[in-house]
């Protein structure tokens, strides 16, 4: 055994040298795009746009789907760090649960630029480019209150409870409607930003509350689910539905007067800004604002002609 000791030591040394050389030799300026889910077309658009922009800037880009699972997201971060990516364009699965992953990247010297979904840390990410969900919901709530003439019963369908956008939208909405005591919220439930769940939630709510004038949903998928439930119950003409996102089917539905309004987010702007920031970071820039809000625009049947899904015409 003693005779073989130098061989073992040599083997061990080779192992570490190989690891070291792998991380340095593989540095081909790569950007990783980690997205919460590719099950929702909105996030597919976000991820593809980020990857396309990174490629256009001369980087190799790869998309990682976290499938709304923080553990899987953690694995992606481990792999990204080991593979020597230069930056991460990140759409988190959980405002709190994702912080550890971002800190792991930060410790490894890999900058992280959050897109759309906020993480609850002001020091972990290099910068966070986020939809101004609160202000978008304020604009929707103002229109909502005007449409309902300041009175009526309404339902609020929330997104994922662990996501900051869910509460930013809800708080923005309530910062307006709660000033009108004749607007009464008869039910508030989460449907996890999921269209089918929203349909089921709305069906259940309708069984207990037949007199509803409007529904505010935390995203467009849920708005379409709620609309489907209202249609089945024969109430689609009476109840006004409000969404948030600017997804394709809701833009069509606003055109057809099925949905009253939505808040248009700009995933293209967020994704391209994140890729641009990553490029600037790699080239030496360090002074990034921690959070940059991206304006959300109110879309109704009055200005629908100005918009297409996920952006402007």
């Amino acid at each position: 055994m003693l005779k073989r000791l130098p061989y073992y030591l040599l083997l061990g040394a080779c192992f570490f040298i190989q690891c070291k050389s792998k991380t340095t030799a593989d540095k081909k300026h790569k950007i990783a795009v980690v997205v919460s889910t590719l099950n929702n077309p909105w996030f597919v658009f976000l991820a593809n746009t980020a990857a396309d922009r990174a490629k256009a800037l001369g980087y190799e880009a790869k998309i990682f789907d976290s499938q709304n699972n923080t553990a899987l997201e953690s694995d992606h971060f481990e792999n990204i760090i080991v593979a020597g990516f230069d930056a991460i364009l990140f759409n988190s699965t959980d405002a709190d649960g994702s912080i550890a992953n971002v800190l792991k990247a930060k410790a490894a010297g890999v900058p992280v630029f959050c897109m759309d979904r906020e993480i609850n840390s002001n020091t972990a990410a290099t910068s966070q480019i986020l939809s101004d969900s609160y202000s978008g919901a304020v604009a929707i709530a103002k229109y909502f209150t005007q449409q309902l003439k300041k009175k009526g019963n309404y339902v609020e369908i929330l997104g994922i409870v662990g996501d900051n956008n869910t509460w930013a939208r809800s708080k923005g909405f309530h910062s307006v409607v709660d000033n009108y005591p004749d607007l009464k919220m008869v039910a508030q439930q989460s449907a996890d930003f999921d269209r089918n769940k929203a349909m089921e939630v709305m069906e259940t709510i309708l069984q207990a509350n037949s007199n509803i004038d409007a529904v505010f949903c935390g995203n467009d998928g849920m708005a379409m689910g709620a609309y489907q439930a209202l249609l089945s119950a024969g109430k689609a003409d009476k109840v006004k539905v409000f969404g948030f996102d600017g997804a394709e089917d809701v833009i069509t539905a606003i055109n057809e007067n099925k949905v009253a309004a939505t808040g248009m987010q700009f995933p293209k702007v967020m994704a391209e800004t994140a890729a641009q920031f990553a490029d600037e970071y790699i080239k030496g820039r360090r002074d990034f604002p921690q959070k940059i809000p991206v304006a959300v625009e109110l879309v109704t049947n009055k200005n629908i002609g100005d918009y297409i899904a996920y952006g402007k015409k």
Partner: protein
């Protein structure tokens, strides 16, 4: 002897792998406390009383701004507008004098002379929400506020001041035909200009005659 070295090597290797694989850190260092104690009420009150008046004094006349946009939109937005975030919404501090031609539940219609033509805009009297005052003032820098809710709360406090102190005395007295003077904030979508839908959020508001 060989066996002991073998075990020792094994322990070293396992120890090394375990050491490099597991990181233990305090939760407090992983999750930075988000509940900072920013006082939006005091900050906004101070901004309203001490810094905003000077900005209002230098507000551009609405008709002059409209003409500047017509001539060179890029320059006009660059020179007169501001926004904390990225996007098409821009915010401007403007002043205007005009005649109230209509009094509605949620707004009044204000008619302003603009050279040879007349300009009609809305004067908001009910729905005072959003970021128009905060952003148009250009007194708040996004880099100073890593917590998004702090920025939202500043807007909300500034809007409350309009709702509680600017509008009630005006709404009590104003009637159709009154000439008024207003300095306030406007939100304008630079990609889709709609002057007829323009709404002034008043900050200084008085009936002239």
């Amino acid at each position: 002897m060989n066996r002991y070295i073998k075990y020792l090597l094994l322990v070293v290797v396992v120890g090394l792998v375990a050491y490099k694989s597991v990181y233990i850190k305090k939760l407090s260092t992983m999750v930075k406390a988000t509940g900072n104690k920013f006082d939006a009420v005091t900050f906004s009150k101070k901004l309203w009383e001490e810094r905003l008046p000077a900005k209002l004094d230098s507000a551009i006349a609405l008709s002059a701004f409209a003409n500047a946009v017509q001539q060179n939109p890029g320059d006009a937005f660059l020179k007169y507008s501001n926004a904390l975030g990225i996007g098409n919404y821009r915010y401007v501090l403007i002043k205007a004098e005009g005649v109230i031609t209509e009094i509605g539940d949620d707004d009044n219609t204000l008619q302003i002379n603009n050279g040879d033509s007349l300009m009609r805009v809305k004067l908001a009297t009910e729905f005072i929400y959003g970021n128009a005052i905060r952003d148009a003032s250009a007194l708040v820098d996004v880099k100073d506020f890593p917590n998004t809710m702090d920025l939202n709360n500043i807007s909300e406090e500034l809007n409350k001041m309009v709702r509680k102190s600017v509008l009630p005395p005006f709404k009590e007295k104003v009637k159709k035909g009154d000439k008024i003077s207003v300095t306030g904030a406007i939100e304008i979508n630079k990609e889709h200009l709609r002057w007829t839908e323009l709404e002034i959020i008043p900050i200084r508001l008085q009936i002239v005659q």
